[in-house]
Amino acid sequence: MNRAVETGLLAAALGCAMLAGRADAAVVEHVMPSNAVNYCQSFNPGPANTIRNRVIGVENAGSAPVAVACNFHSIFTAGSGSEPPHRLQIVFANTNDGGAIHVTCALLTGGPGFGVGYAVVKTTPAIPAGATAQLTWDATDVPRSGATNLGNPFIGVNCALPPGGLMGGTIVRWRQDNGI
């Protein structure tokens, strides 16, 4: 075979091999579902507290709103292309036969001791008895320009759970470049 043709074929083969390798490159979307009982607790626990920690969710069985605090796991692998979570969803249900409810939650990220903070507060639409609704926070809620995630490995919410309000499923998502 002509040397020039040989060289050309070899270059093409190498190119194909490299492209084949790059075909494995991916940004993997990790989805971490859980029930709220795993991550949430009453803001002010005590014997008079009316929060029920059910397997299917955290329910306010009392007659007045109760504040609930939740903080979620994220993954931190320094230098390997993982990002802080980019999306948090929480599903709420209404177990109160008396009528519709709204649930208000404030997203808070970061830790204490910095003297500053930023909260993004959202309220569900009216949730009729026996129905569900959800709240979602994502990078668009971060005030920093060009944000692609929630900006911090530590993410959590405070929620005002009304009587009959139940916090059910929580879903945290984050992305990781597989490094190829």
């Binding site: 803001f43 002010n44 007045a64 709103p65 109760v66 504040a67 605090a69 931190f76 692998t77 320094a78 230098g79 802080p84 208000t104 939650c105 404030a106 990220t109 970061g110 830790g111 910095f114 003297g115 500053v116 903070g117 930023y118 909260a119 993004v120 507060v121 959202k122 309220t123 809620d141 971060v142 005030p143 920093r144 320009s145 900006g151 911090n152 490995p153 530590f154 405070n158 929620c159 005002a160």
Partner: protein, 184 residues
Amino acid sequence: MAIPVLSWWNSNRMSGRARGPAVQSGADAPSPATSSTTLESWPHMTDQPSPSVAPPAVDSLVEQVGDATTTIATAGRDKLHVRFTSEQTDAGWSLATEQALARMSTSPQIEELGAKPLSFNARCRTTICVIHADFPTRRTAEDWFTLYTLNSGAQMSNVSVQTLTNPNGSIRLELYGFARPAAP
């Protein structure tokens, strides 16, 4: 924070092998061959950890959390502050909103926690409000902020907070909040 976490990680990793036989010593323990194979197949139970598994860079995580917290809070505060200073005052809306925000500054749960502010002042313009609230301690200030963001959530959606110390030692929270959703 980093050193205790790393120490815990190392001691836990090293003691894992030592704990192994004790777990197997009961009457119901599986056969030695089975238990040995199972334990040795766990990377963290061996003396030779895989080189691909590095300990987490906890120092880096702590640094990242601090930077991220400050960056986001500062960006949010700057946006709201710039907007507040450039707005005219919508007299009707601002007065009604200031009164609503003041009404929400206390609630049965805030009182139950002893977190009622010593003083409270809200000033609103067209979409942004700035709130100053004073507290005897940092704890009461933190408790109040947690509950106030929920009380006022229907009124104020994005809130930046900065903690200041007054000359008399009391704690002042300065909040900037977006209080007027865009028309649908």
